[in-house]
């Protein structure tokens, strides 16, 4: 059985790469941490991989706005490689800063028409105007997203960001709803469970194919039950035979999809 290969993209300021790598390894993938410079120079070929993961962090300090500099770099320096990768039906996941990057490149929410990548939504400053580090309840939506197939209807994950308010013009939001592209919603629309004031409580979206997925919460921070902030008090967490955290299922789904579809 071939082992799915995951490219975890790094650059200056990436900082959730190690735990994202651990998550994919636990899910059964072969992983490589690759600096974007090595993709641009051609030292590493994106096409040798099945999954592209853009982890959390502060790429280039999130200077100007979160993720914009990495997005510009990818859009202008890796245009063909990215189009070929996506066109080949491979998977892309962006977590937190990675989600911000995918939105700013235009890969999310994506268009069904042209190859031209245009930014159609954004992740703006939280309405609290602060960095927010907290756990939130998420509702899993009906969507084509391959990463969330069959996972629990309610998932508990941590967020940690200052720019996570998903917002888009009304027509884009309507498209998202019509195409079932909303993957996760914050389960309670009030602050703090919707920690950033996102439109329609959107926490994560996919493209129309379900193969490109971005989310603000961090599934890679809930790989074992001891990551749960209340593992000392919740009987179900404490007593369950499984030591697996809710977040791992997302990575396993990706790996299984690659295996099942022989990408």
């Amino acid at each position: 059985m071939m082992q799915p290969k995951v490219l975890i993209l790094r650059t200056a300021g990436t900082n959730c790469d190690a735990e994202t790598e651990t998550a994919f390894q636990l899910a059964g993938a072969e992983t490589a941490l690759v600096h974007i410079q090595n993709l641009i120079s051609g030292k590493v070929n994106l096409s040798d991989y099945h999954i592209l993961a853009i982890p959390g962090g502060f790429s280039y300090g999130d200077d100007i706005s979160a993720g914009i500099l990495l997005a510009v770099e990818m859009k202008h320096k890796l245009t063909d490689e990215l189009n070929r990768f996506v066109g080949a039906g491979k998977l892309v996941i962006g977590i937190c800063n990675g989600f911000q990057v995918l939105v700013r490149t235009g890969l999310l929410p994506g268009t069904d028409s042209s190859a031209e990548m245009t930014q159609r939504a954004t992740l703006a400053m939280n309405t609290s105007a602060k960095f927010e580090c907290r756990w939130v309840d998420l509702e899993t939506q009906e969507s084509p997203c391959v990463f969330t197939k069959g996972i629990k209807p309610c998932v508990y994950l941590p967020v940690a960001h200052a720019e996570g308010r998903f917002t888009a013009p009304a027509d884009v939001l309507a498209d998202l709803e019509a195409n079932n592209q909303v993957v996760f919603r914050y389960a309670d629309s009030g602050y703090p469970n919707n920690p950033n004031g996102s439109d329609a409580d959107i926490a994560g979206i996919c493209d129309a194919t379900g193969r490109i997925f971005g989310l603000m919460p961090h599934p890679e921070r809930f790989l074992t039950k001891w990551n749960h902030p209340r593992w000392t008090r919740i009987a179900e967490v404490q007593g369950s035979g499984s030591e697996e955290g809710d977040g791992l299922a997302i990575f396993k789904n990706a790996v299984n999809y690659v295996k099942a579809n022989r990408l």
Binding site: A18, E19, Y60, F131, R134, W226, R233
Partner: protein, 802 residues
């Protein structure tokens, strides 16, 4: 400023001229030191250059050599005959560690951070330091570069540790201080608070290091001299803990460019602040966390490929200190024109001394240079060869071919005359506050209002609004968060992380700090800080056996005998209680001269003598950790450890405007037994929750446990074990006696728990209740607190949310 070198004419200078040179050059050298330099150069028959005298001033600064802690002190206590102490550091700190002799201490006091064992593959490094003066002047940049600097200490320990956790403790003036009362030239405490928090947040979060432990204290005496303690824990392979330098190794600078930032930071920290200090613009350092992240990314790869033999950070004193220290035993030559500059026009001494941030120096065998450069280029980090380590035993600095400094390493590092300082200690006498029990009872007000006021007092109130701005989950290893409980908002005693994902071996980090007790006796303040840090470790499941300590002293001007007397008291306590508990010091730091002088009124203010004790503990299995929130109705609540009438410096006295005279004593035999048995009970699974009993005493501890768990409590004080004749309800409720805990035990474990902890005084207080009512009955039989947990929680949460 010109890019030339000046000769400093000291050979013919008289005393007044020597002091003028020291003062005007911000050298912070005293007359004795200036004369030692004069004699040294007299024998050489020449004057020093500016580069040389600046190098000596940096190397001999309080910041770099901690001369107060090494000086000979003639100490006199309460009018008694003086005692001579040959160095506080060797006598009380280092000796404690030597006497305790824990085999798991890998490296203590010799490297940039202490190192202890973790598992078969890794060791841990831990360092805490302060960045007080810079944070007073530019809070955001000062605090950010404070955390940046301590992260580089971890990276500069052994051959480089991966930073895995930050801890931050701040002391500020009161946020509600009127602007009109603000001392001249100082920033408002609110601005300092906001700026410091933002600085630590932005640096730590961008570096991707969880900030999961800390404290914030308030006292008006910190207004002009806020304290910013920044700490970092690192993970390092066991076979990368030693460094060496060989002649012929290249001196390589890695990281950011050099500018005029932060010049004189080391000597500046040896001076008092006054209302003109903010004009010392060049001392401000500007941080760039992404640059530092890139350096970590590059150097850890180079470390794993064994490309360099030694590493240190450019901190205080810049290249002069870094190269001077690395080459101490052999010699070094450096060519300053090779340094990568932010802009032109720097004089050689400025390049040599600049404290521009995010720079490391490594010793690279020439054959490894090309591989090292390739790694750095791939991460977009500059690596510049500045010179070579030699066998000359001299520090030789060149600029454009000309030698601008030529110093003997021996004189530079061992020429500093050991000062002799006087210290006195006179116990203060404060008015005493009697118990208020007589006014309490049927038809009278209860202690409800006192409890509410204590919970709302800034030192005790929730710090959630700050904590949530720090990323405490990055790296994926945090298993006990700083906020715990049913709504994730109760105050955890300590944090626990698993630094190696997939392993259940954990690290506990906690701290203890009690500056208010210093108003009574700094000896008790220091003893209590140690006890508190250890209690916090034990409360989450750690053990004394595997705990190491760090000391950080922040004091007033040690040239004043009374301030130094307080320092002697605290240092003595460090020895006494570290050895009594068997918990060694592995690293420490001091920041002295935290005083403010108003140049118009001549008024002089010192901070409260403040000792921060940070504690680190390795636990074998994080599954056994507990949190402080109560878990279920009908569980039993116990107090563990004796209560005494020890309210001197307590928060209860504080809210009534008293200091008192009997600050909490540490009784280490009792304390050690209590902590060891409790650790054993916790690790046997007999305890559902545990909370350290500290600020605000039993009253605050049980309230916090109840509202964090979302359940009420019905308690009475009848069974509180007492160590003296105390029976006043308010004293029992709010005394801050050390070595006490509150624990929650399931009814079916009652017997096992009580057997387990036999020999330790415990008292059954009552039970957890399903209903939110929170009732404490006093010894008189009257309810002295009768309220709901919602009221208490709101009192605790409101102040810092607004």
């Amino acid at each position: 400023m010109s890019s030339t070198v000046n000769e400093i004419n000291i050979l013919n200078a008289d005393d007044a001229e020597l002091m003028r040179i020291s003062r005007e050059g911000t050298l912070s050298l005293n007359l004795n030191e200036m004369k030692t330099i004069q004699t040294h150069f007299g024998a050489l028959g020449r004057n020093p250059t500016d580069v040389e005298i600046e190098t000596i001033a940096q190397t001999w600064s309080e910041h770099c050599v901690h001369k107060t802690f090494k000086s000979i002190i003639r100490y006199s206590e309460d009018g008694k005959a003086p005692e001579q102490i040959d160095g506080l550091f060797p006598t009380y700190i280092q000796r404690a560690t030597e006497d305790i002799a824990k085999p798991w201490c890998v490296s203590v006091f010799s490297d940039n951070a202490g190192i202890i064992e973790f598992d078969e593959t890794f060791n841990l490094v831990f360092k805490v330091e302060t960045h007080n003066h810079p944070s007073a002047i530019e809070p955001y940049g000062g605090a950010g570069t404070g955390i940046g600097g301590v992260i580089r200490d971890s990276l500069g320990t052994g051959l480089g540790a991966k930073p895995i956790l930050n801890t931050d403790v701040f002391c500020f003036g009161m946020s509600d201080m009127p602007y009109t009362a603000l001392p001249k030239g100082t920033l408002h405490p609110k601005r300092v608070f906001k700026g410091v928090v933002a600085g630590v947040r932005d640096y730590g979060n961008r570096m991707g290091i969880p900030t999961a432990n800390g404290a914030i204290l308030f006292d008006s005496r910190y207004t002009a001299n806020p304290l910013v303690f920044c700490g970092n824990v690192g993970l390092i392979p066991r076979n990368r803990c030693e460094k060496s330098v060989e002649p012929g190794d290249l001196v390589v600078a890695v990281g950011g460019q050099t500018g005029r930032d932060g010049i004189h930071g080391a000597t500046f920290s040896s001076a008092e602040l006054d209302d003109t200090s903010e004009s010392l613009g060049s001392v401000v350092q500007i941080g760039n966390p992404i640059m530092e992240k890139k350096i970590v990314d590059a150097l850890l790869q180079a470390r794993d490929r064994n490309l360099y033999r030694s590493i240190t950070d450019c901190g205080a004193g810049g290249f002069s200190s870094a190269v001077g220290e690395m080459g101490e035993d052999i010699g070094a030559e450096v060519h300053l024109e090779r340094v990568s500059l932010k802009y032109e026009g720097l004089a050689p001494w400025e390049i040599w001394l600049s404290e521009a941030q995010e720079r490391m120096v490594i010793a690279v065998p020439p054959e490894n240079l090309s591989e090292l450069v390739a790694i750095c280029e791939a991460e977009f980090v500059e690596a510049t060869v500045l010179g070579t380590f030699t066998d000359s035993h001299r520090l030789q600095v060149f600029y454009e071919g000309a030698i601008v400094a030529d110093l003997e390493m021996e004189f530079l590092h061992n020429g500093l005359p050991k000062p002799v300082k006087a210290a006195v200690w006179q116990p203060p006498k404060h008015p005493e506050m009697p118990s208020r029990d007589e006014g309490i009872g049927v038809g009278n007000p209860s202690y409800m209002d006192d409890l509410r006021r204590l919970l709302a007092s800034p030192n005790i109130a929730s710090k959630e609004s700050v904590i949530r701005q720090y990323d405490h989950g990055v790296q994926g290893g945090v298993v006990i968060n700083p906020l715990v409980g049913v709504a994730n908002d109760g105050p955890s005693d300590a944090c626990v992380i698993t630094p190696v994902l997939g392993s259940r071996k954990g690290v506990v980090i906690a701290n203890g700090i009690n500056p208010k007790y210093s108003d009574v006796d700094p000896y008790l303040s220091a003893a209590s800080a140690i006890d508190e840090a250890l209690r916090n470790i034990v409360a989450v499941g750690g053990t004394l056996e595997k705990t190491a300590l760090l000391d950080n002293f922040c004091w007033g001007n040690p040239d004043k005998p009374d301030r130094l007397g307080e320092l002697v008291r605290a240092a003595k306590a460090c020895y006494d209680f570290a050895t009594a508990y068997g918990t060694p010091f592995i690293s420490g730091k001091d920041s002295l001269y935290n005083e403010y002088r108003d140049t118009t009124t001549g008024e002089q203010r010192a901070i409260p003598s403040t000792l921060l004790i940070s504690a680190i503990c390795v636990i074998p299995d994080i599954c056994n950790a507990v949190t402080m929130d109560v878990k279920a109705p009908d569980n039993l609540i116990y107090v563990v450890g004796n209560t005494y009438a020890e309210l001197g410096g307590s928060h209860y006295f504080g809210i009534h405007g008293f200091i008192g005279n009997s600050a909490p004593v540490v009784r280490p035999d009792d304390g050690k037994r209590t902590m060891e048995r409790l650790s054993s009970a916790i690790n046997s699974g007999l305890v559902r929750s545990c909370h350290d009993c500290s600020e605000g005493g039993i009253g605050v501890a049980v309230a916090e446990m109840a509202f964090a768990g979302g359940y009420g409590m019905r308690l009475n004080l009848d069974n509180v074990p007492i160590g003296d004749e105390t029976d006043a309800d308010d004293y029992l409720l709010f005394s801050e006696s050390n070595s006490r805990f509150i624990v929650e035990v399931e009814p079916q474990h009652r017997e096992a728990y009580e057997n387990h902890i036999a020999g330790v005084p415990i008292g059954y207080l009552g039970t957890v209740t399903e209903s939110p009512e929170f009732v404490i009955t006093g010894k008189t039989g009257h309810p002295i607190v009768e309220t709901s947990i919602d009221v208490l929680k709101s009192a605790w949460q409101t102040p810092l949310h607004s």
